[in-house]
């Protein structure tokens, strides 16, 4: 079960991720909005896999759906797959150096975008373009910094 400190880290990171996700960006930068919530989920699962498991997908996925106005459940599905993949390989990923981790984040976010695109294509006739590469790229580039920051914060909270 979660102790108070873990809960604090969880609540803070989720709140920050959703705030950043919604933060208004200038027109040009809006192409480069990283997938903040996905990154937060990745960190939580990597740092404390025994606490943060697949259940995380349900509340966060629903919140993402409400936030983006998509079909309820779409992001639940995407996050479920994301967390499952992370759980399968978290031991290895936790050992990776940051360049390899960056690559993993890139692939996972790109996979999510691709699945979202397919799901939409199945659900609605009009397929609108979904940007697959750019959010994946910016997420991957942001990853080392975010990871370092959160690790630091977690170490502070632990002691």
């Amino acid at each position: 079960m979660m102790d108070f400190r873990t809960l604090l880290v969880f609540a803070t990171s989720v709140f920050l991720a959703f705030t950043l996700q919604r933060l208004p960006m200038p027109e040009i930068l809006s192409w480069l909005q990283p997938a903040w919530v996905t990154m937060a989920v990745t960190i939580l699962v990597l740092r404390a896999p025994q606490v943060f498991g697949l259940w995380l997908a349900l509340p966060l996925g629903l919140m993402l759906d409400a936030e983006q106005g998509s079909y309820l459940g779409l992001h639940v599905l995407l996050l479920t797959l994301h967390i499952y993949l992370l759980q399968v390989m978290y031991k290895r990923v936790a050992m990776f150096n940051f360049i390899q981790q960056t690559g993993v984040v890139f692939l996972l976010v790109a996979l999510q975008q691709l699945l979202a695109y397919w799901a939409l294509w199945l659900l609605t006739e009009d397929s609108r373009p979904v940007d697959i590469w750019r959010p994946a790229l910016t997420s991957a580039l942001m990853w080392p910094w975010v990871y370092a920051l959160v690790s630091l914060a977690m170490r502070k909270v632990r002691h």
């Binding site: 959703f18 996700q21 697949l54 983006q68 106005g69 599905l77 799901a119 659900l123 009009d126 373009p129």
Partner: protein, 272 residues
């Protein structure tokens, strides 16, 4: 994993076929409310600084301008009352249904959708304020869009410039009807299926025709920019510039029309 995935798919299926999940959407809407509010703070602060840092002279000049403008509008409004009375009288003569002024609710823009492919915005009024799906949204200059997603304290507005949006319009000058479809660019609408012989000229004001039942009649939508007749093509290519300031307005009006009801959500388009 499989259980949650199946649950998620069931949710998606339900949400795409029936409006039953609106309570769940509302509940999760409350969860993301704090994050939305905090994300809106930088813009609000910039606004506040801009206002409080304006020079006294500027404020005086603006005040003068606004007073003058107010006077003009007041005069016009006086005439409007008379015209409206006359209009109602005439309508009564025609035994047509009475048209009463639409009730409006003022709301503020809190966020713009970060997805560059979609032209959607978030406003700070939601189901608690009586906002409903499909509700028309105006700004001070014209029609801006319609509500496509309602959360308790905020809602999502699809702007007329979105490439998935179209609105029935008519030319104010002569009543020629057309459909103005969004192009994905905020500065341009496209009139589709306009015959080459239609009497539409650059500069014509397009107003909402009220056909289709979604938008109220008679609000300005766009001004025709360019009309091109291409020989060999069945339809003329007509582009128009939206009257509403889609990329600048911060204060918007939600219209409660007479007789407009809730629109079933399945008739609405949703993004990912």
């Amino acid at each position: 994993m499989a259980a949650i995935a199946v649950l998620a798919m069931a949710l998606i299926w339900l949400d795409s076929h029936a409006p039953w999940l609106q309570p769940l959407r509302n509940a999760t809407g409350y969860l993301i409310l704090p994050a939305q509010k905090v994300a809106a703070i930088p813009a609000a602060m910039a606004d506040w600084f801009g206002e409080s840092a304006a020079a006294r002279q500027e404020l005086q000049a603006e005040n003068k301008k606004l007073t003058a403008r107010n006077l003009i509008l007041e005069t016009k409004a006086q005439r409007l009352a008379a015209l409206e009375a006359e209009n109602i009288e005439l309508r009564e003569l025609l035994s047509a249904s009475e048209q009463i002024d639409d009730r409006v609710l003022v709301s503020t823009l809190i966020a713009v959708d970060p997805d560059p492919y979609s032209k959607q915005i978030l406003i700070d009024k939601g189901s608690e304020d009586g906002v409903f799906l499909g509700q028309p949204v105006l700004d001070a200059y014209g029609l801006l869009g319609q509500v496509v997603d309602v959360l308790p304290r905020s809602s999502r507005v699809l702007m007329i410039a979105d490439s998935n949006h179209a609105i029935p319009v008519q030319v104010n000058r002569n009543g020629v009807r057309a459909i103005a479809a969004g192009t994905g660019s905020l500065a341009e609408l496209e009139l589709i299926y306009v015959p080459n012989t239609a009497d539409i000229q650059p500069g014509d004001l397009l107003v909402s025709s009220g056909l289709g039942g979604r938008y109220p009649k008679g609000y300005p939508v766009a001004r025709v920019d360019r009309v091109e007749n291409i020989p060999g093509k069945p339809f003329a290519s007509v582009t128009a510039r939206p009257s509403a300031h889609l990329d600048r307005s911060r204060h918007l009006l939600l219209v409660f029309q007479q007789g407009s009801g809730q629109v079933p959500p399945e008739t609405l388009w949703r993004k990912q």
